[in-house]
Symmetry: C2
């Protein structure tokens, strides 16, 4: 038996980077093979469902990362303001200060949305609900908390679009700062 070249789990971040930079349709198996160092045979061994399964696993991985690093702390915290501050730090790090695109957001705009609608929705619902929970725990009224959370998530997505369109990370930095201040005001 041939020695496994890699663990399935460790290729997923590599796949994610290909999908993020090239989009779902632009991520050819050739590029994926190159990025992972895996032949097509190995890829189909790991992901019998092909490219669609790869993307599904990547989305699940992204969702898990956000759940662990962002949603769960927001939900659990005794100190909502600290958790929200931590969220902005994590988001800035994850999106490389605007230099990295949101794969889920990009897929939402693409025709691939139809295929992955469930996971895309889960990601954003999870984010908004976790942030809403933190804001409520801070004492915000229900409707206001929800609206603030929705605005915040939406601003981050818009900032990623604009930062990339203008090729200017400062746009992202400014937007994060403004969003943080808006959540801080009571």
């Amino acid at each position: 038996m041939a020695k496994p070249v890699a663990e399935r789990a460790e290729v997923i971040p590599l796949l994610a980077e290909v999908f993020r930079t090239r989009g779902y349709e632009g991520a050819t198996l050739g590029l994926i093979s190159e990025a992972t160092g895996l032949g097509k045979g190995s890829l189909y061994n790991f992901f019998p469902g092909g490219k669609e399964e790869m993307a599904r696993e990547v989305l699940a991985h992204v969702d898990a990362w956000f759940t662990d690093h962002i949603y769960a702390p927001l939900r659990r915290t005794k100190d909502p303001d600290a958790a929200i501050a931590a969220m902005f730090v994590a988001v800035d790090g994850y999106f490389r200060s605007g230099g990295r695109v949101c794969l889920v957001g990009a897929m939402a705009l693409d025709a691939t949305r139809e295929v992955f609608a469930g996971r895309i929705r889960t990601y954003f619902v999870g984010w908004i609900e976790a942030l809403t929970a933190a804001l409520r725990r801070r004492g915000e009224p229900k409707a206001r908390a929800r609206h603030m959370a929705e605005s915040c998530v939406l601003e981050i997505q818009g900032a990623l679009v604009l930062a990339r369109a203008l090729d200017d990370r400062e746009v992202f930095a400014r937007a994060l700062k403004a969003s943080r201040q808006r959540l801080a005001s009571r």
Copy 2:
């Protein structure tokens, strides 16, 4: 001479709809042919540069529409508040209250950005500068006007992402309303 089947100008909105719904890579010539009712011969007669020229013309057409209906009124107006209000109405109409995606924003997130970076940038720079001009004419300080304009454009883009991700136009309506109120406060 064979009878021309259409005006070049009148196929561009049809092309735009294909690119908008399928993305650049997902817009196959087969789909384009079907959507326009034009054979490949006609398409290549109109657009010798092929798919890339089609997309370039579509982007130019979108940019022209925004210039005519949004940027120019913002720049020219004697009544900035009315022009800004009109902008929100036009934007809501153009994006079908969140049911339609921003082609330029979607391309900015995609790998196609590299090919169309210039036009993508022009679109957003034009928007931000026009809105900044209107805000300045209303008496906002330069830096604040620019920042408000940037935030507004970014919120619209984010709202389009989120509305589509959640398949909920109300998200777009709420975001437009919030953005309008934020620009109105002095």
